[in-house]
Structures are given as structure tokens and as C-alpha cells.
């Protein structure tokens, strides 16, 4: 048996016996760093939960001792959004930002696709929800992209090509928002776009992760059976007792199409050769979606770069964040100029909540495996899609509804 096979078999035995696999001791270092990173998040979370509980207890007369605190917090419980023109509960808004941030930290996605529909559900006008979400994405991605740049995970050439497409798409998208608002039914159009995009992404994500889950399950049963047979003396089966490759050769759908496009060039940091047209088109699509849906587009950008172009996940995430910052800046600015729907106060409150939540989410997600996280995310995406479908197909509570002069709500 080769030394690789011996090592693989030993790893498999260790896995089956439940012992941790950490030959390089990397997990220990990561854990130490994680504990430090988690400290600030935990303190912030505990403080936020403590304040919320104290306010609730005081407001409901449960504890006389916290009445003063409750009345103080109560006077700050509402926040008036100057551009959206609505007053909302501050704790609900921070909690929403925190919750979506948690999910984004947990699943490694931006969370914009959840934020906008949830904002609409708490009464923020759809156009303001999308535009303000774009604004908060700038801040949320800024810190991420600086960290990725320090680690060398940003392919500037690829990022700039995506960005050119993103700015074009974003500019067109903002004009499209104005046209859709003028036609009327902007919220319906927005929901339809959400249903299409989230439905496709959620279904693909679930399909891929469930396939991986089933494969892993079948593989572990096979290995366990082989191990039992080897232990019973069937030594010739030892050669078949191998661990799975660290990363399987990735299947790249549409790769041949992408490889045949003209204007091929090398993207050195990403370690691949591709046509300028592909990232340009991808950026255009994501820019459009940023304007229409208020999303960062990472949930499309990262899978497209990894599955179609074969870029490593880390570089795909770093480069996606790079273009996301600038595309969101462009969209926010255009929305402020063209539609006047960016609510800076809303964006800042969401940003603070989501940034803290992302740190907590990252800690919560550590014990879960990649495909398990993707199944949960896929289910979440499908749940949001189903909710939006119901909103469109079920009869509304009233046949007459208030709309804005521009046609949307």
C-alpha cells in the first residue's frame, strides 16, 4: 500500500472513531483566533439582548427596578426614517439587521436578498428598501474586501472587468426602476424578479448540497463496511479503503461556452484564462440585480466564478466583494440622484445590526459542514420564494391599496 493510501486509511479510521483530524494543528490556531474574534461579537450580542430584555420587562411591568431604563429606552424605541417617511421600531430594525447579518455570517453570503423583502414586510416602501439596502451593502462589504485584499484574494483585473459590467448594469437598472415605478406595480415586478432569481438559485443550491449529502452518506456506509471487512481479515480490501480527495475535480457547466468566447485573457491571481466578455456580462447582470433587488449579488457572482470559470472559492469571494463595493456605490449614488429613495438613517441602522450579526453568525456556523450550511441556506431561500409567491397569487386583503404618485408603494 502506498504511503498516501496508508494516510488516507488512518484518517478514515480516525474519522470513524470520532477522533479529530488535525495533522497540521491549523484548527487549533484558527480556534484561538476565532475565540478572540468571537469575544467582541459575544459582548455586543449579550449587550443587545440584555437591553432588549430589560426594555421588554420594563415595558410590560415585569420588573419595577428596570422601569427607569425601560422609559429611557422607550423614548428611543422608535426611529423616523427621513427619506422613507415612516416611523419604525428601532429594536425591530436593529434586530432585523442583526438576524440577517447572523445568517450572512452563518452561510457566507451577503444577505441582501433577505434584507429587502423583510424590510418590505415591516412597512418600508419597496423602492426605499432596495436603495437603502444597497447603501448598507457598501459598508458591509468594505471591511470584508480590505481583509481579502491583505490576504491576496482579490484579482484586480477580474474585479475591474466585473466592475465595468456592474456599473453599466447598475446604471441601466436604476433607470429601469424609474420606468417600472412610472408604469406602476413596482413592488409586484420586484417580487416577480425575486421569485425568479431566488427560485433558481435556491433550487440549484438545494440540488447540489443534497447530492453531496447523499454521496457522503453512501461513501461513509461503504467505507464502514470495508473497514469492518478489513478488520475481519480481508486485507486485500485495504487498497479500496481510501479517503475522498480533498477537492473533487469540479464539474464546470457552461465551461465550454465560456472558453470559446473571444477576447481571451489571463487572470493571473485567479489562475485562469477566460474571455473578458464573461465577467463583463456577469457584472452587467449583477449590477442590474443590485439596482432592482437591492442585493450585492454575491450569491450569483461567487457560484458563477467558481462553477463556470473555475476560480478558487477564496479568490471568487474576495473579487466578488471588491466589485460589490463599487457596484453598490454606483447604484446608491444613482438611486439618490434619480429616484431619491436612499434612506441613509435606515442604511446605517441596518449596517450596525448586520455587521455585529455577521460576526455572531460566523461563530455559529463553525460546527456545520459546507454542504449542511448550503442545505439550510437553500431551504431558507426557497422559503422566502414561497412566501413571495403566496403574496402574489393569494387575493390581497383589500382590493384598493394606496400607491405613490410614481406607481409603487
Amino acid at each position: 500500500m502506498s504511503s498516501r493510501q496508508d494516510k488516507a486509511a488512518a484518517e478514515m479510521n480516525a474519522k470513524l472513531s470520532g477522533a479529530p483530524l488535525d495533522p497540521a494543528g491549523k484548527a487549533g490556531v484558527a480556534q484561538a483566533r476565532g475565540i478572540g474574534r468571537a469575544t467582541a461579537g459575544t459582548i455586543a450580542t449579550v449587550a443587545a439582548i440584555g437591553l432588549a430584555v430589560a426594555w421588554w420587562l420594563g415595558a410590560n411591568g415585569r420588573l419595577a427596578g428596570v422601569e427607569l431604563l425601560a422609559s429611557t429606552l422607550g423614548s428611543f424605541s422608535h426611529i423616523y426614517l427621513p427619506v422613507a417617511g415612516v416611523s419604525v421600531n428601532l429594536f425591530a430594525l436593529v434586530g432585523l439587521g442583526f438576524g440577517v447579518g447572523c445568517l450572512s455570517g452563518l452561510f457566507g453570503v451577503g444577505g441582501g436578498f433577505l434584507m429587502t423583502p423583510l424590510l418590505m414586510m415591516i412597512g418600508i416602501p419597496p423602492a426605499s428598501a432596495a436603495a437603502s439596502d444597497s447603501c448598507q451593502i457598501i459598508g458591509a462589504s468594505s471591511s470584508g474586501v480590505t481583509a481579502h485584499m491583505r490576504m491576496g484574494n482579490v484579482d484586480a483585473k477580474l474585479g475591474l472587468t466585473l466592475l465595468v459590467g456592474g456599473i453599466l448594469g447598475g446604471t441601466v437598472g436604476v433607470r429601469l426602476v424609474a420606468v417600472l415605478r412610472a408604469i406602476g406595480n413596482f413592488d409586484c415586478w420586484m417580487k416577480i424578479i425575486y421569485i425568479l432569481v431566488l427560485g433558481i438559485v435556491g433550487a440549484l443550491m438545494l440540488r447540489e448540497s443534497v447530492t453531496t449529502l447523499v454521496k457522503n452518506w453512501v461513501y461513509s456506509i461503504r467505507q464502514q463496511t470495508l473497514l469492518e471487512l478489513v478488520n475481519e481479515g480481508y486485507d486485500e480490501l485495504k487498497v479500496r479503503l481510501v479517503a475522498p480527495a480533498e477537492e473533487e475535480v469540479m464539474h464546470r457547466p457552461f465551461a465550454s461556452f465560456a472558453d470559446r468566447l473571444p477576447f481571451q485573457t489571463n487572470f493571473s491571481k485567479a489562475g485562469m484564462r477566460a474571455s473578458y466578455l464573461f465577467p463583463l456580462g456577469l457584472g452587467l447582470l449583477v449590477g442590474l440585480l443590485t439596482a432592482l433587488m437591492g442585493v450585492g449579488g454575491g450569491f450569483i457572482m461567487v457560484p458563477a466564478m467558481t462553477y463556470i470559470l473555475g476560480v478558487s472559492t477564496k479568490v471568487a469571494i474576495g473579487t466578488s466583494l471588491f466589485q460589490m463595493v463599487f457596484t453598490s456605490i454606483n447604484v446608491t449614488y444613482q438611486q439618490a440622484l434619480t429616484n431619491g429613495t436612499v434612506d441613509a438613517v435606515l442604511a446605517m441602522v441596518l449596517l450596525i445590526g448586520s455587521a455585529v450579526g455577521a460576526q455572531v453568525g460566523a461563530k455559529l456556523g463553525r460546527p456545520l459542514k459546507g454542504h449542511q450550511l448550503r442545505i439550510l441556506l437553500g431551504l431558507l431561500v426557497i422559503a422566502v420564494t414561497v412566501k413571495l409567491i403566496f403574496e402574489l397569487v393569494l387575493p390581497p386583503g383589500t382590493m384598493i391599496s394606496l400607491t405613490s404618485a410614481a406607481g409603487g408603494h
Binding site: R33, G36, R37, A38, T39, A40, G41, F76, S77, H78, I79, Y80, P82, V83, G85, V86, S87, C135, I138, G139, A140, S141, S142, S143, G144, T146, A147, G184, N185, C188, I192, I329, T332, Y333, A336, L337, G340, V342, A344, V345, A347, M348, L351, I352, A355, V356, L392, V393, L394, P395, P396, T398, M399, I400, S401, L402, T403, S404, A405, G407
Partner: protein, 271 residues
């Protein structure tokens, strides 16, 4: 001397006629005697929409002739309101299929009284003064036209559907209020507390108060208060409208600074 005697007889006859006149004329007499006694005042005279605004509270009070009931209405300035009628598209999707514009209706309207109005006031008074708790007289003066560049009047049956929908939406938002018991009258003093919902619009609100006796309005007094944006809310709202370039740049800069700041806090926590 004779002339004075004749004048005295005429005066006596006139007073006797007034004393024996029907109820409505008797009410008119009580108006005359109570003119100076009825009043309304509001505090505060300005409700500020600041960053913590979650609705406002104003207190209305005044004096009224003994034995009268009190009612008042509060109205924000009239605006144009756009409404959409939902219908099925492609047999599956519920979307706005028609739109209309309603003119000359206030966004906020409240009717308060010390007694149930249907019992306290004659029907014609309810209609004339727009005090009907159904808001029907208020909406009757509204103009409903099709939305769009070439606005044309909407047929009466359609207009009624839109106005009913508008009334229901306003009631749901807490913008159309009726309270027929919380005006307290204590001798010659009356008072009430009005809660403005968070969605109450900006503007000068007209308050018209009435003293009621024998199912008729006998006195009327008016005042007003303002709801206006102040501080950061006013600054940012005006900036977003009037200086969008600077506002956009400010929003982006603030987002970058806060994002990088939070990232720095957590990265320091990691070391």
C-alpha cells in the same frame, strides 16, 4: 311718551314671541347668551417629527356653556392621494390593474365627541359639519380622477369603490379616527387628548370645536397646530430632495466609514 309706550309693547310682544318660539329658535337664543363662553386651545402648538418620532400627542381643551356637549374635528391639509385597484393578471397574479387620483381629501382626519354623535346631533348637522363617524360627508366632497397625464373623472360607482378603499386604508393606518366618548366635559370646562399616529403627515392641522345643545350646534371655535420635521430628519429629508448629489455622497461616505470602523473593532477583537 305715547311713542315710548308703543315701543315697550312691541318689545314685550317680541320677547313673548321669542319665549314661545319652537326649539330651534330657543337654541338660537342660547347661542347668543353663550357666545363668549365657548373656546378651544391646543397644546403643544407644534408637534416635532424628530429622529425618535413614533407619533405625537396633543391636548385640546377649552370652555363651554353649562349643559352643552362638545365635539371637534381635526384635519390635516388636503392632498392628492393615489390609489390602485387590484385585479388578476394572467389569471394568477394579483397586481394593480387600474389607478386613480383622489383630490381634496385630508390625509389625517379625526372626529372626537363627548357623546355618541348620532344621538347628540341631528343628521343634517352631521353631514353639513362633516362630523359623521362614517366619514361619508368628508369623502363626498372629494374628486376622483384617473391617474396619468390626461386625468378624466372616474364614474360615480367606481369613485365610490375608490373612496371606500381609501377610507378603510386610512382607518387601518390610524389616520382616520373616531372617538365618541373621550372628550370630558366638567361643568364649563372640556378637554381631550389626541394621539397622532406615526404616519400623520406634516402640515398645519385645523381644529374646529363645537358646542352642542338639543341636537344642534350652538357654538363654534377654531384653532390650529403644526406637525413639522425638525433636526436631523428635516436636514436629511431636505438634503435628499434638494441636494441629491451631496446627500448620495454623504450616505456612501457614512456607510464606508461605519463599515470599516466596525470591521476594525472586530479585527482588533480577534488579536
Amino acid at each position: 311718551m305715547k311713542a315710548m309706550r308703543v315701543a315697550g309693547i312691541v318689545l314685550f310682544l317680541a320677547m313673548s314671541t321669542l319665549a314661545m318660539a319652537p326649539t330651534a329658535q330657543g337654541d338660537q337664543a342660547s347661542v347668543d347668551t353663550a357666545t363668549a363662553a365657548f373656546s378651544v386651545s391646543v397644546a403643544p402648538s407644534e408637534v416635532d417629527i424628530d429622529v425618535n418620532y413614533g407619533g405625537g400627542q396633543v391636548r385640546l381643551s377649552g370652555t363651554t356653556p353649562e349643559g352643552t356637549q362638545v365635539a371637534f374635528k381635526v384635519s390635516s391639509p388636503t392632498t392628492e392621494t393615489y390609489l390602485g385597484k387590484n385585479g388578476k393578471v394572467l389569471g394568477v397574479l394579483w397586481m394593480t390593474t387600474e389607478r386613480a387620483k383622489v383630490e381634496d381629501v385630508p390625509e389625517f382626519f379625526a372626529v372626537f365627541s363627548s357623546e355618541p354623535l348620532q344621538e347628540a346631533l341631528a343628521p343634517e348637522e352631521l353631514t353639513q359639519r362633516k362630523l359623521d363617524p362614517s366619514f361619508a360627508p368628508l369623502l363626498a366632497s372629494a374628486k376622483v380622477v384617473s391617474a396619468g397625464e390626461n386625468a378624466t373623472p372616474v364614474p360615480a360607482s367606481e369613485a365610490k369603490t375608490y373612496l371606500t378603499g381609501l377610507r378603510d386604508a386610512r382607518i387601518t393606518e390610524g389616520l382616520y379616527l373616531v372617538d365618541e366618548k373621550d372628550v370630558s366635559v366638567d361643568g364649563s370646562k372640556w378637554s381631550a387628548s389626541l394621539s397622532l399616529p406615526p404616519a400623520a403627515p406634516e402640515g398645519r392641522y385645523q381644529v374646529t370645536a363645537y358646542a352642542i345643545a338639543n341636537q344642534h350646534i350652538v357654538e363654534r371655535a377654531t384653532t390650529e397646530f403644526a406637525v413639522k420635521r425638525v433636526g436631523v430628519v428635516s436636514l436629511l429629508g431636505n438634503m435628499a430632495r434638494n441636494n441629491a448629489m451631496a446627500y448620495g455622497a454623504l450616505a456612501i461616505t457614512a456607510s464606508v466609514v461605519i463599515g470599516l470602523g466596525i470591521g476594525r473593532v472586530f479585527s482588533q477583537g480577534a488579536h
